[in-house]
């Protein structure tokens, strides 16, 4: 993710369009903008980031209590829950963004993160792959991101993902983990039921 700031700064600093004037949002508008930013970044970046943050420690941490064959279920359960709880997760990340950037910066950032070129770049960076094509933001994005607010967004949000997520990390886990465990349990139960039946062992309806 640290590459993200360098790459995006490079891309966005390329244009020398005149700076746009930004009216300061009030707090409520800033919070709404923050959720919009989180929502725009969720698909290309945050979802993958959360997947990467959750799946390895969860899989390793449960290695003694789940069959090796169930390790893939952990990733499936996390992905399904990230989809099911996208609205809640974006609201929480939005809260983190509100604390990390000013309303002006978020308003500037929203223009950038809705730009398909930036979305593509974010996705590639989150997936640790090179962009499919050269990143060519719109003129509006370039202009916006060369303003102080745009530069502030790039530095604070693209440059320090942990800072954005850390204050809401436990709330994210509280929102996601119950469903992850339920889904993992359901998937593993189905497999274990087949296994027990094939060995002639009794299987309760509850399994």
């Amino acid at each position: 993710m640290k590459l993200m700031v360098a790459a995006l700064t490079l891309v966005l600093a390329g244009g020398a369009a005149p700076a746009a004037a930004w009216a300061a949002d009030d707090k409520a508008q800033g919070d709404k903008t923050a959720v919009d930013v989180a929502t725009a970044m969720y698909g290309p970046a945050y979802k993958r980031m959360l997947h990467d943050a959750l799946v390895p420690p969860l899989t390793d941490g449960m290695s003694g209590v789940i069959r090796p064959e169930w390790r893939g279920y952990v990733a499936e359960a996390v992905d399904e829950e990230l989809d099911a709880k996208a609205t809640v997760v974006c609201a929480l990340i939005g809260r983190g963004l509100s604390g990390a950037a000013t309303p002006d910066e978020l308003a500037a950032g929203l223009i950038a993160v809705r730009d398909p070129a930036i979305q593509g770049a974010l996705k590639a960076l989150a997936e640790h792959t090179p962009p499919a094509q050269p990143v060519s933001p719109t003129a509006e994005t370039r202009a916006t991101m060369t303003t102080p607010a745009g530069r502030g967004f790039t530095q604070k949000v693209f440059g320090d993902i942990a800072k954005v997520v850390d204050p809401v990390k436990e709330d994210l886990l509280r929102a996601l983990m119950p469903g992850v465990f339920r889904r993992l349990g359901q998937k593993a139960s189905a497999d274990e039921r087949r296994r027990l039946q094939s060995q002639g062992l009794p299987v309760e309806a509850a399994i």
Binding site: L58, G61, G64, V65, I66, R67, E170, L173, R174, A175, M177, P178, G179, V180, F181, R182, R183, L184, G185, Q186, K187, A188, S189, D191, E192, L196, L201, P202, V203, E204, A206, I207
Partner: protein
């Protein structure tokens, strides 16, 4: 699970401590099939847990899972995890008993298992187990084993049963993962559902 093995080992120790002056009287059995041994082993395990209860197993599971970071995100989740482990072990009891019985039957002859069953069914043994688990008064006032249990305890099969039971933890080692994998999916599913209910309640009535 160690607590459960300890309890089982305790049962053995009490049986072996029975008066040795009584003549052995278990009958030799001509046919000694896997199915017969499993049948008697299941009866033994059922009898044991009917007396000793599942609490040691439930506590062991909840204790192991309680170390999880995720289980401690909310105090209510810890309670939910204890409940989930307890409910799932109750629901999975036929499976757990069958897995343990199958393993017992691999290592013991029909004579040994039958001797063990006679001993475990003795009211004095039940009282001794309960006393040692804190469910009943001290063993000072416990009655002696009845004649058939005394005979079983001092018979060659009963003595051999006792020696094998003395290493019960080692005997069950090969199936400990299977026991865990049989129970964990349901524990995870129940825990997830309970934690989701906790979260829903908190969202409905935020402080």
């Amino acid at each position: 699970m160690r607590a459960a093995w300890f309890v089982l080992g305790l049962g053995l120790a009490l049986a072996i401590a029975a008066p040795r002056a009584v003549q052995a009287a278990t009958n030799p059995v001509a046919v000694n099939t896997d199915a017969q041994r499993e049948q008697v082993a299941i009866a033994f395990v059922d009898e044991f847990f009917a007396t000793a209860g599942y609490k040691p197993l439930q506590d062991a599971f909840a204790g192991a899972l309680g170390a999880w970071y995720f289980a401690n995100l909310r105090p209510e989740w810890r309670t939910a995890l204890n409940e989930a482990a307890s409910e799932e072990l109750d629901a999975d009891r036929p499976t757990v008993d069958a897995i343990m019985a199958r393993q017992l039957a691999k290592d013991m002859t029909l004579d040994e298992l039958q001797a063990g069953l006679v001993i475990i069914r003795d009211p004095a043994m039940a009282a001794a187990l309960k006393a040692n688990l804190g469910h009943a008064p001290s063993s000072n006032a416990l009655p002696p084993l009845q004649l058939d249990a005394q005979r079983a305890a001092v018979s060659p099969a009963g003595q051999s049963f006792g020696r094998k039971f003395d290493r019960f933890d080692e005997l069950m080692s090969p199936v400990k993962p299977d026991l865990t994998f049989a129970v964990m999916p349901g524990v995870l599913r129940r825990f997830g559902e309970k934690a989701e209910a906790v979260e829903a309640q908190k969202r409905a009535s935020p402080k």
